[in-house]
Subunit: 152 residues, 2 copies
């Protein structure tokens, strides 16, 4: 399998990675979630090649993860904004944050604190079951393949 064939796999992980699995894409999404929106802002924040920023943003736009909007005319300048589909990636980002916090935080704690305004506490991401609301561990789950959803 080649990388560009990922999108055609009958696997939701593969399909997701086909959109956000390229190098730097998740870092760009992090910046967008933190409020960055302009090309220069993202490029300077990450200090990566402009080529890559341009290519990744274009892919994210064609996949419906971000929308490109003109924020001024003469000359026309654009900014990038997460769509609802992009906002849906929040749990992915927070899961990455939590694992990094768990395994790479220093004595002074994690570099960024996430605050839940609704309950008023600093929090970390907990994966729970959509049906019973309890935290889920991989030891308590099993997977079932759906033949009708697998055309290959």
């Amino acid at each position: 399998m080649k990388w560009h064939e990922l999108a055609g796999q009958e696997c939701s992980i593969a399909r997701t990675l086909a959109v956000i699995g390229d190098r730097w894409t998740l870092m760009i999404l992090r910046d967008l979630f933190l409020g960055a929106s302009r090309f220069e802002e993202i490029q300077r924040s990450l200090d990566i090649s402009r080529t890559i920023v341009a290519e990744r943003l274009t892919l994210l736009e064609t996949k419906g993860v971000v929308r490109r909007l003109a924020y001024q005319q003469k000359p026309t300048r654009y900014k990038y904004k997460l769509t609802p589909k992009g906002i849906d990636l929040y749990p992915v980002l927070m899961a990455l944050v939590h694992w990094g916090d768990q395994h790479y935080a220093t004595e002074v704690g994690p570099p960024v604190i996430h605050h839940h305004q609704r309950c008023g506490h600093d929090f970390s991401a907990v994966l729970t079951c959509s049906e019973c609301g309890e935290p889920v561990s991989p030891y308590e789950t099993e997977v079932r393949f759906v033949p009708e959803a697998i055309t290959a």
Copy 2:
């Protein structure tokens, strides 16, 4: 910034991606979570270059995500097993699954069903707050940077 400098960033997303952000790594982890353990098994499942499988497994081992264990002698053959640190990546994988299910499932539903044995229902991943237990939306959160944890 270059890709190999990611690990040194004061960001838990960056630190996490430095371990699991390379091309194919999350697909290899998927296979490990689904029960694969041998080199050949993983390589055949993904049908990717043996070079990449070897390199990724070596990195995951040095990062403590998997452990390499001999499962037979004469000749010695090895298998790869997720460590507790690797098991901790379950929420990351499930978040990827859920996004793929949300946005790329066909009429017949997602290709793989996840069953929560404790409650007896098929489920999807829900991100909740570690403090109040409620589902978390990015609109209800704010971030705070911790200067002491940021040496740069």
